[in-house]
């Protein structure tokens, strides 16, 4: 019996060996390297690192008069994205899922159509949006044709400092709403039809049933949608890199983008340590979010 168990253990280790080896190489090494680098000053080319202890963290968080404001502005923008994207995902995702759940005709076709923004997310779609949003772009033309000329943006939606960030939040939400729709739809289909029938027989209106029966039942789904989008909003910066690169005037700079710029577009300035430090600050925030996530999952069961 014990021999059999030993054999099974060894087989188990053999089966996880490729995954663990890759993880040790990519994961452990990069985490260790990244942590060390966050304690050093380096431009990526010189041979030696200059050890600076916690200076990078203190500098980006409050001490350096040039760096700290940059980081806090980016943090504010990131915060706005973290509010805007989850709210839009719920506010748009739920009504659409409710509507989709009510129809038979075209349901599958529409679900496919709604899902395209999610599967195609990436540089190609972001360029298509840039094309649509530019000054001579179709959005301005469509607004003009609809008699909504006052909403047009002569500088383009991404060129105007006041509209750039809200526009990017909307495009980011456009990519993530499909998952919200999908999750809400799956949850709605698992709600017991008898509960809804009972409520309707009692004379409750559709609105009443939605707000006081369906909405509470969907709370775990809403929590999942919000947390998923919080995570993506905290970490995602690709859309900012591609569509505005932080502009105009830094109004769409977010924390991930700032770290990316310090890491790879520093022009020989010794900012690699700063990039690492900022990456770890983001990591701490992500872990806190994950903690909230776990607690909510526990309280659910």
């Amino acid at each position: 019996m014990t021999r059999r168990r030993l054999r099974e253990s060894l087989t188990g280790y053999a089966f996880i060996l490729p995954a663990t080896a890759l993880f040790a190489l990519m994961g452990v090494y990069t985490v260790g390297y990244g942590l060390l680098l966050s304690l050093a000053r380096w431009n990526g080319f010189t041979k030696d690192w200059i050890w600076v202890g916690l200076d990078n963290y203190l500098d980006i968080l409050y001490r350096d008069p040039a760096l700290a404001p940059l980081v806090w502005d980016a943090a504010l923008n990131t915060g706005l994205v973290m509010v805007g994207v989850p709210v839009l995902a719920v506010v748009a995702g739920l009504p659409i899922a409710l509507a989709l759940n009510r129809i038979r005709l075209l349901r599958n076709t529409l679900r496919t159509v709604y899902f395209l923004p999610f599967v195609t997310t990436g540089i190609a779609v972001f360029y298509a949006w840039t094309y649509v949003l530019q000054p001579q772009g179709s959005l301005n033309a469509v607004l003009g044709a609809l008699g909504l000329g006052s909403l047009q943006q002569p500088q383009g939606f991404l060129g105007n400092p006041t509209t750039a960030l809200p526009t990017l939040i909307a495009v980011m939400a456009w990519s993530s709403i499909p998952v919200a729709i999908l999750l809400y739809l799956a949850a709605l289909q698992s709600i017991d039809g008898e509960i809804l029938d009972a409520a309707t027989v009692d004379g409750a209106s559709t609105w009443r049933v939605t707000t006081s029966v369906i909405w509470p039942l969907l709370r775990p789904t809403t929590a999942a949608v919000v947390l998923l989008n919080l995570r993506d909003a905290l970490q995602g910066f690709q859309i900012f890199l591609i569509m505005t690169n932080g502009g105009p005037g830094g109004t769409t700079n977010v924390l991930g983008l700032q770290a990316y710029k310090w890491a790879f577009f520093s022009d020989l300035r010794p900012t690699l340590g700063l990039a690492s430090a900022l990456g770890w600050v983001l990591f701490v925030v992500a872990v806190l979010l994950a903690g909230v996530n776990l607690r909510m999952l526990r309280s659910r069961t």
């Binding site: 060894l10 490729p18 990519m26």
Partner: protein, 270 residues
């Protein structure tokens, strides 16, 4: 009846929102440069296939396309081999530390990409694979570890233990049980993981951009990006290139969408 009409109006409106940039992508790709600059309507006044043909032949897109196929294919194969093996161990075998190692992999879900991006590039340099396809495939494979292990372990757990017992009675070893029973039975989960790996890898830009520096190694997203580095962006060419990237994904999705849907719902519930 009025409620029904309202429902369809809402759904139609959101379908327009979903398709809006795709419609203009197609429209732009079939316009001439002059028409694109002038703006104009959705339907090209004088539709031309030239932009498409030019983008494909003159701008090295066949090579980018091939590179993307290589990188995506290698990543998918790597993920399926490495993580089906690991998931089998986590789901079926028992060994000391199993739970802790599993939890370690899953917790990687919460590490932001940007935190490890710079060290990954430094590691590529140290291993001598910076600028090569292997150099990006390794982190891509590792990056899918949490989701792949989660989905595959759940799928393997759902296989009845009696199947494994009967295989064992027939004298099959662990590797044979894995390859001839678990993998075929769980084929839908493998397809799901393959798709959830392939699509983001096909679209990946952030790491590729800072890893690959020789245009002959560029994948499609980098080829697309290099178009915009030219003096004035020619949106007809950019939209044609975007369409080349997006079309394979859309086709794949339309044919295999139930695997996407099951996978995503399973990942979030699990």
């Amino acid at each position: 009846m009025r409620a029904r009409v309202g429902t369809y109006v809402l759904l139609a409106a959101y379908a327009v929102v979903s398709l809006y940039p795709f419609a203009w992508m197609v429209s732009g790709a079939f316009k001439s440069n002059r028409e694109v600059l002038a703006g104009g309507g959705l339907v090209p006044a004088d539709p031309t296939f030239d932009t498409f043909a030019k983008t494909w032949t003159e701008l090295d897109f066949p090579r980018y396309f091939l590179n993307s196929l290589i990188v995506t294919g290698a990543t998918v194969v790597g993920v399926l081999i490495v993580y089906t093996l690991a998931a089998y161990a986590f789901a079926v075998l028992s060994f000391p530390g199993r739970k802790a190692i599993y939890a370690g992999f899953i917790s990687l879900l919460f590490v932001p990409g940007i935190t490890v991006l710079l060290p990954v590039v430094l590691l590529q340099q140290e291993l001598g694979v910076l600028g090569t396809h292997l150099g990006i495939v390794l982190p891509f494979v590792n990056g899918t570890a949490p989701l792949s292990i989660l989905l595959l372990t759940n799928a393997f757990r759902a296989v009845p233990a009696s199947l494994r017992e009967s295989a064992r009675c027939d004298g099959a070893g662990e590797l044979r049980t894995f390859a001839s029973i678990y993998v075929p039975v769980c084929r839908p989960a493998l397809i799901t993981v393959g798709l959830l790996t392939a699509v983001p890898t096909w679209n990946e830009y952030v790491l590729s951009r800072v890893s690959l520096n020789d245009p002959s190694t560029y994948t499609l997203p980098l080829g697309l990006q290099s178009l915009t580095a030219m003096t004035s962006p020619e949106y007809n060419v950019i939209m044609a290139a975007s369409l080349i990237i997006v079309l394979p994904v859309i086709v794949l999705f339309i044919f295999l969408q139930r695997y996407f849907v099951n996978g995503l719902v399973g990942a979030i519930k699990g």
